[in-house]
């Protein structure tokens, strides 16, 4: 069956990567991307529709594509050029609302896939170690981004209820890392000296960027109803991740960590979403990914440790100057191969 797919946020890393993969699939007859900026040049047969998902105009554009699947990649985790922190809320919440309104008018539609976030579970010390999908909304949400995600999930849930004919998938992504991913988190992990919170060592599940795209592609082919956690198997502590990455941690007492990160955050490009990052770097977060494996049918290629190791390999290849991490030097002294 020929498929027609529309991707929002096509100029973002996530949207473009998905389009690139779908272009290779002959079963997909038509791909369109919606964004305010043009997508990267490498895309070949993706039709670019210049539109702002926040504008009501979308309700006229979307039905004309005769799409059967809409993939919403337009939820932003951090500011981008031309998208300052203060408009993130608008893009994430109002944008999703407008998109859903446009979906209602698209009669050919069969499935809506939203690339959401596991931020809906918050980052708390005393949280369950592995959140299952039914545990959303059990903790008090503390950051703007967490509340935005919760709000748009609620709209999406209502939308799904009113349109039982449509298959509505909410993918709750753990943060990603990848050698080519230009995210604040990856930049943070690539700092020569990495500030960490004194006395805390969060348990992290960072998803490899290839798996992140893989899961999204899988959801286009096999949309399932309801929320699905997207995260790697296992977990890794920040301290161990930094050792594998050969980065030296700089423990900073909690009261100084926030001001320090605020200064650094602007340089990392985290902007308003710094709050989330800081909570994540204190308490971490784990999700149960059994639904992703069993229902969605996606098998990640990297586990939590593997994703970091891959990042380390890439960082090693790009390194300028000698690697002076104690682990490397001591390893060389007693002759352990890397």
């Amino acid at each position: 069956m020929a498929r027609r797919v529309v991707i929002t946020g096509i100029s973002s890393h996530w949207g473009a990567e998905l389009a690139r993969r779908l272009e290779r699939d002959p079963a997909i007859e038509y791909i369109a991307g919606i964004d305010t900026r043009p997508p990267p040049a490498e895309l070949e047969r993706t039709e670019f529709i210049e539109a702002d998902i926040r504008s009501p105009l979308l309700s006229r554009v979307l039905p004309s594509t005769e799409a059967d699947t809409v993939v919403h990649c337009g939820i932003l985790w951090y500011p981008e050029p031309g998208r300052p922190p203060r408009v993130l809320h608008e893009i994430n919440v109002i944008g999703t609302l407008q998109l859903l309104a446009a979906c209602e008018r698209t009669e050919s539609l069969e499935a809506v896939v939203v690339r959401g976030s596991a931020a809906i579970y918050g980052s708390e010390g005393a949280s369950p170690s592995f959140f299952t999908e039914d545990l959303a909304g059990q903790v008090r949400l503390r950051t703007r981004f967490q509340r935005d995600i919760a709000e748009l999930e609620e709209y999406f849930l209502n939308f799904a209820r009113r349109h039982p004919r449509l298959v509505c998938t909410m993918l709750r992504y753990q943060p990603e890392v990848g050698p080519d991913l230009p995210s604040p988190l990856v930049r943070y992990l690539s700092l020569p000296v990495v500030p960490v919170q004194l006395g805390f060592d969060p348990r992290l599940q960072l998803l490899h960027a290839d798996d992140a795209t893989g899961a999204l592609e899988r959801a286009v082919h096999n949309p399932v109803r309801g929320a699905v956690n997207v995260g790697p198997d296992g977990a890794i502590s920040l301290s161990r991740a930094l050792r594998i990455l050969r980065r030296s941690p700089l423990p900073v007492p909690a009261p100084l960590f926030e001001p320090a990160m605020r200064r650094l955050g602007a340089r990392l490009g985290a902007g308003a979403l710094l709050e989330d990052g800081m909570r994540l770097l204190r308490f971490g977060r784990g999700v149960d990914n059994r639904r992703m494996r069993d229902d969605l049918g996606f098998e990640p290629a990297y586990d939590a440790v593997g994703a970091i190791e891959d990042l380390a390999r890439a960082a090693d290849a790009r390194r300028i100057g000698p690697d002076l991490h104690p682990g490397t030097i001591a390893g060389r002294l007693i002759g352990i191969d890397r």
């Binding site: 348990r203 682990g327 060389r332 352990i336």
Partner: protein, 317 residues
């Protein structure tokens, strides 16, 4: 494994440094000289060195819960000292703990300032059981927002107390320790020692029924006397956000010295498993069944506590 021919560590290190110097004097570059010299280190020293270096490189195992076996082994001697010398723990019925497969150890909870009962039960299983294994334990949520302590507990196998965590651990066929009294147990005053408090809503029974895990009641004697709680300071509790801050004969009067637990004698008895196999998993929704089992476990622990108190005799000697 003959250690007789092996040099003591300081001499071996001196030899190593001399080898490096000789190497460099002969025109080798320092790195190659160090590598060559490290080859001739005694095997045991080299092994230890390699472990340390591998740790620096993040090349060690940590499970998905954050349990770090190497770390737990490294701090083992501290708890071994407490177990053998300080509290002279005697253990009974350790064979009631299954050597494989899931099981829920349910114990009384005490020791106001730092409840050490989980660590001593771990020691008992690790040291006395013919097939030792690391138990996992559920810890009061509050501990997981604390710096250092949260990290330490997690690396030793503790997880935040929640039925989701307990269920998942049991599904993974782990040995799980729970303390259903929770803060009511640790926070009771010294006058109420060895009186098992209410068992919450019986959540542990629901988890055991759902996962079809045997329940093994455990009675721990000795934990009540390590920090006898005479009163509590509400002002301090508010200041640090703790559920309670106890006042003991030594804390906070002696400052950090007040954190040293008293050397009471301990006895730990692992009781016969409570058979719940007659109930189907759905019985977890039947409040009557849940309370019934919960009460049975509580009574067993209470009975065994009195028995072991008599067996122990004198508290400190």
């Amino acid at each position: 494994m003959s250690r007789a021919g092996e040099q003591p560590a300081p001499e071996a290190i001196a030899d190593f440094l001399r080898d490096v110097r000789v190497g460099v004097e002969r025109g080798m570059d320092p790195l190659a000289a160090a590598q060559a010299a490290s080859e001739s280190l005694p095997e045991r020293l080299r092994g230890a060195l390699e472990t340390v270096v591998r740790r620096l490189r993040g090349e060690y195992h940590e499970d998905e819960w954050g349990f770090d076996e190497q770390f737990a082994e490294a701090v083992f001697p501290i708890f071994e000292f407490l177990y053998r010398v300080w509290w002279r723990v005697e253990v009974e019925g350790v064979r009631n703990v299954p050597s494989h497969g899931r099981a829920l150890l349910v114990a009384n909870h005490a020791g106001s300032l730092f409840p050490f009962d989980a660590t001593m039960m771990t020691m008992a299983v690790m040291k006395e059981h013919p097939l030792p294994r690391w138990p996992r334990f559920l810890v009061l949520d509050w501990a997981f927002v604390l710096p250092y302590i949260s990290t330490f507990i997690r690396r030793c196998g503790g997880v935040p107390a929640s039925r989701h965590n307990a269920t998942r651990l049991l599904e993974e066929d782990e040995l799980v320790m729970v303390f259903p009294e929770g803060v009511k147990g640790t926070g009771k005053s010294f006058a109420d020692r060895y009186r098992v408090q209410r068992f919450g809503r019986g959540g542990f029974v629901e988890v055991a029924l759902r996962t079809r895990s045997p329940i093994i009641p455990v009675a721990v004697v000795g934990s009540e006397e390590i920090y006898p709680k005479l009163g509590e300071s509400q002002a301090m509790a508010r200041a640090v956000g703790a559920p309670f801050v106890p006042i003991t004969p030594t804390f906070p009067w002696l400052g950090p010295l007040g954190l040293i637990p008293l050397p009471s004698r301990w006895r730990i008895e692992f009781c016969e498993p409570v058979d719940i196999s007659e109930h189907p998993p759905e019985a977890a929704e039947d409040r009557r069944v849940v309370f019934d089992i919960s009460e049975r476990v509580r009574e067993t622990i209470q009975e065994k506590l009195y028995e072991n108190l008599v067996k122990r005799g004198s508290v400190f000697l």
